[in-house]
Symmetry: D2
Subunit: 344 residues, 4 copies
């Protein structure tokens, strides 16, 4: 159906074949609904183990916007808002889902998709110095993405510094890991799952963009942090009746390290493309080491390119050039990468 080379996003193909196989094998099993089944419980345990958290609460939701809306709702009181980079997914591309839940997104300027501990500290200091701050939305949560929407990564020291600012203002930290597999698989990344689990009040392990058909796994280290979260999930329309369909996907993803394998496969493919682009003199305007690549193309060249390659528009770079985004994933083949490189 789609003849172009598939680099527009990391959700163009189905799911990793082991997941599809698992759907097939378990199809006639009859289990209770809403994630109360044994497969889902097994998946929870695999994730707890991977995070080295024996007792964490693990819940499976269907997509990223939904997960962010539910969790931010769980964290905040009505008078509180969530701090995020102005480039953050919740700031821009969730159609106001956070505001629909009654909460303001308090944006900070980003640096390559990240917020720095310094920026955060300065914002909070100025906020509390302002004599009118009780007339303003109280910062109640810090939201960051790992990797960011620009494909960049927080290092362990950067993330620790953000956490320390959070601690000094008594604000929890929540990490959106929609593409976490690619962070974990990037060479030089030092934020492992257990490290992340140790630094966050909650985070989610992305499935949809990392090889699942759909699904995100929320991890909450303190299992008593959010009483009645199940009901909140239901209220958000986020409770899957055939809940085991989420559990089995994560059970598979966390068996034999498939999640990291998927990450590595995609990052390796992206690395090949980056290397080829560098050799051929393309300018990559964001220094992204994960599965996303942001080359700048001259508009005439882009038109031609677009006839052969499915890509995403990122933003205009003046009147003559355009920044695009290419993404790899579990399903990116050697042949696709070869063909893309040949086109450059």
């Amino acid at each position: 159906m789609e003849q172009k080379l598939a680099f527009a996003s990391d959700y163009m193909k189905g799911a990793h074949p082991r997941i599809i196989q698992r759907f097939t094998e378990t199809n006639m099993d009859a289990t209770p609904g809403y994630g109360t089944d044994e497969i889902t419980e097994a998946a929870r345990n695999r994730i707890r183990k991977a995070c080295r958290l024996e007792t964490a609460c693990v819940e499976f939701l269907m997509g990223g916007t939904q997960t962010n809306a539910v969790m931010i709702d769980a964290f905040l009181r009505p008078y509180q808002g969530v701090i995020a980079a102005d480039s953050g997914h919740i700031s821009l591309h969730e159609a106001g889902a956070i505001e629909a839940g009654g909460h303001k997104v308090l944006t900070l300027p980003h640096e390559q998709g990240k917020i720095t501990a310094e920026t955060l500290q300065a914002y909070l200091e100025i906020f509390y110095l302002d004599e009118n701050h009780t007339h303003m939305v109280m910062p109640g949560l810090v939201y960051i993405s790992q990797p960011t929407e620009y494909g960049t990564l927080y290092s362990l020291s950067e993330l620790t510094a953000v956490r320390e600012v959070c601690d000094s203002f008594n604000i929890p930290l929540y990490v959106d890991g929609a593409r976490l597999a690619y962070a974990l698989a990037t060479e030089g990344n030092d934020v492992t799952l257990p490290a992340l689990a140790g630094l966050c009040d909650a985070f989610y392990i992305g499935g949809t963009k990392c090889g699942a058909l759909f699904g995100e796994a929320v991890v909450i280290p303190d299992p008593d942090r959010f009483p009645h979260l199940f009901t909140l999930i239901k209220q958000h329309g986020a409770l899957l009746a055939k809940g085991r369909m989420l559990g089995l996907q994560f059970d598979e993803l966390f068996t034999n390290d498939l999640y990291t394998e998927i990450g590595r496969h995609a990052v390796k493919a992206a690395d090949r493309i980056r290397t080829a682009m560098a050799e051929k003199g393309y300018w990559l305007c964001i220094d992204s080491p994960t599965n996303q690549i942001f080359p700048v193309l001259e508009n005439g060249r882009l038109k031609e390119f677009g006839e052969r390659v499915a890509y995403s528009f990122w933003e205009k770079a003046g009147d003559t050039h355009t920044v695009i985004r290419l993404a790899t994933d579990w399903g990116t083949t050697e042949e696709e990468v070869d063909a893309l490189i040949a086109l450059l």
Copy 2:
């Protein structure tokens, strides 16, 4: 895993095998996301054809609560509420999803899960006679379920009468068809898909409880009724990135009449159980002709029964008996029905 006979709900097993097969076959296809792909468009066309609506808007969402929340949000202005039976899904079992969107559910007493045109008419007359009605939530939508949560059906004349009341008060009508396949397949049902399409301002064709892995198809006869519905769906966290996974399921369900076939299969199985129960003197406390059965069991007997059969608790019937719910679906086998009947 689950050794008991699977009659607890119509979402205990996976999906109809043709759907699973379709997932497998199309897995490596690369398509654009968010339901903008050709498979999803094909599914839209199949549904339009089945409803005899050439230009209807058809959108695919993930679950029933989510669909109701999105659509009711689309219909209502902030000062309006939705009229529903007090037994309606939105009234009771959606954890306040409608109220979370800012809207009151205005409940009417049900008769076997239905609201009658007379009750509706009386409610609206009294509302507008009340001198204080501008201090009250304005009724802005009528919500009914077909089949109802009690497994009962509106006849065409009943539905037409409700519609006429709606028209006389200029209030739109929305139908929750979470289990619509079973209505369509029930002998004597005269509310066909085109009839439904002709009487409603919007309705949804349930997938999750009718053989899909997940998914509901919203049908809006007037395609201009809800501008920017896509953005509203996104805002509700209801937009699936790999959107074609919804499209392909409905494409399959509406190929060679699979949707009705699934309905017939389940209703036939339920009919066999109903007949056997009647013969053995069981009291069915609701006269449900669809895929749900509501027998009353003595509590001691129920305990024994529950060791062999997965069922749902419905409600207490005094101190000594209990109403339970049994449900059949696409995956209910002859053997399961035989075994259940043997147990009675």
Copy 3:
């Protein structure tokens, strides 16, 4: 302007003359805004003293619906709803203000405007017995009105019984005292301000309907119960810039017992009317001992009556009669009562 006898409501005239005088006297004073001034603090202290609560949080808001919306928002988490009589103000006559804040009103059938401890207990028991209760709105607060919307009163033993049920389910209790002055002034009432303060997690002392120009005083015995309530009030658009206008009214109302005096004046007037009506054979369909009277009039008679008296429509009593409401207040004069009685 209004020539009819003024019995339509307890908010037809301005404010008690002492309040108007106080506005005049203090008009040129310059104070900080938003209730941070000394007059407002003095009013807080007078109310604390009247409630025998040394450290209570006391906040002044502008009207009843606003106060209920703010406080219920403060009490509840998103997945929780508020239990109320189906005749309660929040259930019927606040245009969905509670739902607009995201919360369901969980209604119980009323008895003369009240909910009984038994009804409440039964509701909560059934709720928690229901296997699906995690799919339902969790009861998170009990709301009652004293006096009720029917002008009736909870006795101390009734209120204590409600409190005990609340305690056994760990649910807080909130009392809407829009007309509290009339409860406090009714002979036989044993729910004093300190008693109320001892039984509630929060309540409000109504000003608007009890002699103020506008304003309600929220009392929260535990001052640490709602951190950041000020910001929540601001968010609800409920923070008065010239905040001392609220403070000075309550300072006046709680000086020399004016609040009770206003209550007594109105109840005495209502008692005279009730006695006269009883003597002349009128049927009072609600046994209300406070400032509201609910006679049933034959429709022809009512038309004539309405030409001389401003009253409120309450509800139809069959096809030939109507229940109306008459209300007295601080401004009801002997002459008005005499004239009304003469008309009967």
Copy 4:
């Protein structure tokens, strides 16, 4: 009580004496509630006349945040947000009231408190060029303040240019006139009430900060623009029971041009202060011609100044200086201005 010179805000004193007198005179009148009385209708007519709008809808609310929340709720559909300057009242100082209603505030950088037509045009063009804009909050309203929060004014040509951009994108325009009296009274202002009425879809005439005890008058030129606005107001807790208290204040303000007189009085006082400050070499960091003055003071000097004058902190100007705000109003006396000037 407050001995310092009262320049902290324009809501430190009570109300213009004519308003207080009117409260006194009408106090014993009995009228129907909720703004349905004749005084309120008279006020509506005076405002219609002042705006040269014969049929406009005029509603009276209690405060600015409340008014903005109600009106923005009335304008927007759930998927829409409101464009505002990042310095706008709704962006910063309403504690998230707009987000609590479910809507995102889409901020544009301000220039002296204003948004320019060019900035607005550029924002909207880029928005609609973005291929992902259907995943983003749709701009559904433009909000500006006249005067702005910085005390600056839109000229008629600037406002007309903003309107033209609105028109070309089919977006309505709403003006927050919390301090409108001061705009109308400023020399050189060419945005008269009828001009404003001709350019906006709605605006409000501020009372609270312009001499009323409280209250804002919303003007909607097209009376059919917002059906059921009364119910929406009620839902927001914004409906005053003794509604005539709002009506009588605006009736007074628009009798014999009191509203402009109040504006002129305050601007003249501010002009005297500005002139004196200029003469004495103070730097006014915002070129505000209305009733607000923004001098920069050295911190040591400010401490001393603050012992004699009630002022508002505005923002830090580096480590050694501070921007403060001084405001005049109807109640600012010659003596206060003289004393302030003497202090400089």
